[in-house]
């Protein structure tokens, strides 16, 4: 376990409506955390805040190194995490270029990118779709592409927002396997928001519940 995340007393409101009202938690073990809660309870909001994509109104998001050194919120830290959005946010280009994106913006060499992208494509079973435009993939394929795009940069903490929503049974199985392999292979932390309690029970190690803007467990 290389990176630990501690959030304390997170508040966030949109247009005067409070969504998060003092959420606190320490994600200090490697494994798969499952975050559940009703629609609109603030799961996606919390994930965006944890992934440093949006600041909270108040409260602290702290990342700590193994030796408990607190890390500054900068590009360097942001590049050690990533969040998979519910709708992925695919770029209007080939599957290959979508997955290569995170490596390209890190200035990684072309042949290295090619090798890693091929590996990731193989890992999620999309090698044959490499040159297809990402916007023409099916729901299950697009989720898998999103996962490949996220894991190719080898994040130490991976946030997944509804990775199995609107995906058929077979693809859910594939995505679950990917997550389990990922946990074992990278020894990293996965924090996942989902409504799929059956799937959550199959893969989850720790279970959190978001209610009234606070985390319960």
């Amino acid at each position: 376990m290389a990176l630990k995340l501690t959030i304390s007393d997170i508040y966030k409101s949109y247009n005067g409506k409070e969504v998060l009202k003092g959420s606190s938690f320490s994600f200090d073990k490697s494994g798969i955390y499952v975050l559940m809660g009703p629609n609109g309870s603030g799961k996606s909001t919390l994930l965006r805040i944890c992934a440093l994509l949006e600041p909270p109104d108040s409260g602290k998001v702290k990342y700590l190194e193994d030796n408990n050194r607190i890390l500054e919120d900068n590009l360097n830290l942001r590049r050690r995490l990533t969040l998979l959005l519910p709708n992925i946010g695919a770029f209007n280009t080939t599957v290959f270029k979508n997955i290569a994106y995170g490596l390209k913006i890190r200035g990684i060499k072309k042949d290295k990118i090619e090798e890693k992208v091929e590996q990731a494509l193989d890992f999620v079973g999309l090698l044959h779709k490499k040159n297809q435009n990402a916007l023409t993939l099916s729901s299950g394929e697009i989720k898998r592409m999103g996962i490949a795009r996220a894991i190719v940069i080898e994040p130490e903490i991976l946030f997944l927002d509804e990775p199995t929503t609107s995906v058929d049974h077979e693809n859910i199985k594939i995505i679950e396997n990917i997550m389990i392999q990922l946990k074992q292979r990278l020894n990293s932390t996965i924090i996942m928001a989902t409504h799929d309690s059956i799937s959550a029970r199959r893969v989850g190690d720790f279970f959190l519940f978001l209610e009234d803007g606070r985390i319960k467990f």
Binding site: L75, T82, N87, I105, I142
Partner: protein, 236 residues
């Protein structure tokens, strides 16, 4: 009726014999409109993207301004430039009036708001999730900007083509500032206006047909770009 047939015959004669005057006029048209468009694209695309992506004070005002300037009457632009660049005007000393240069300036003024405003709307239309995904994957803010511009590319190309169509067809602006001098500042649209006035229709018709053809080609290009860009995600 007879004279119409005769005029068409003459027009086709000019076209198929690659009449020198005709070619020269077409050449200058392409030069002026193409030059104006090039400058409008180089300045208008980054400007439109900037307005579309960054939040700053007065942004709404600039967007409104760009949108209303999209329909700027060419004659008004011509008049305005004439007053600035005429011998007694503040910029008269530059001696640009009745030169191809000021014609390019006039058409640039017409093209810039179109390119900028349509680029702005193309960038605004890019899914917020795409921007967020780019950031989540570790993009810096300038990398996010480049990604959004790339996502909006079809809209931006369409903007440029639309602006070209507008300046190619325009006559009011360049006839005032260019003066329609034979062999020097005479372009397709101004020649058509003049020749029609004189009652000599052959050259006017020949140019009219070519202008129609060019506008047709521009629209084919626009259509195919829009069709390509309209690829919608299937999971939505």
């Amino acid at each position: 009726m007879n004279f119409l047939v005769e005029a068409f015959k003459q027009a086709f004669y000019l076209i198929f014999h690659l009449d020198r005057e005709l070619l020269q006029i077409i050449g200058l048209s392409l030069e002026v409109s193409g030059g104006a468009l090039l400058i409008a694209a180089i300045l208008g695309i980054p400007f439109g993207a900037f307005v579309g992506l960054k939040k700053f004070h007065g942004r709404g005002f600039i967007i409104t301004l760009l949108n209303s300037f999209m329909g700027l009457p060419p004659v008004v632009v011509g008049l305005f430039l004439y007053l600035l660049f005429s011998r007694s005007g503040p910029l008269g000393f530059l001696g640009l009036l009745y030169t191809p240069t000021i014609m390019i300036i006039a058409q640039f003024i017409l093209a810039f708001p179109i390119v900028a405003a349509l680029t702005h709307s193309a960038c605004v239309k890019v899914e917020p999730d795409v921007k967020l995904a780019a950031r989540a994957l570790g993009a810096t803010s300038s990398q996010v900007t480049r990604t959004v511009i790339r996502e909006a590319r079809y809209g931006i190309i369409a903007a440029t083509v639309a602006a070209l169509g507008r300046v190619m067809a325009e006559v009011g602006g360049i006839i005032i500032v260019g003066g329609n001098i034979a062999g020097y500042t005479r372009v397709m649209t101004t020649t058509i206006a003049l020749e029609t006035d004189k009652g000599e229709f052959e050259l006017a018709l020949a140019l009219g047909l070519i202008l129609l053809l060019i506008s047709f080609l521009i629209n084919i290009a626009l259509f195919s770009i829009q069709k390509k860009g309209a690829q919608k995600p299937q999971w939505l």
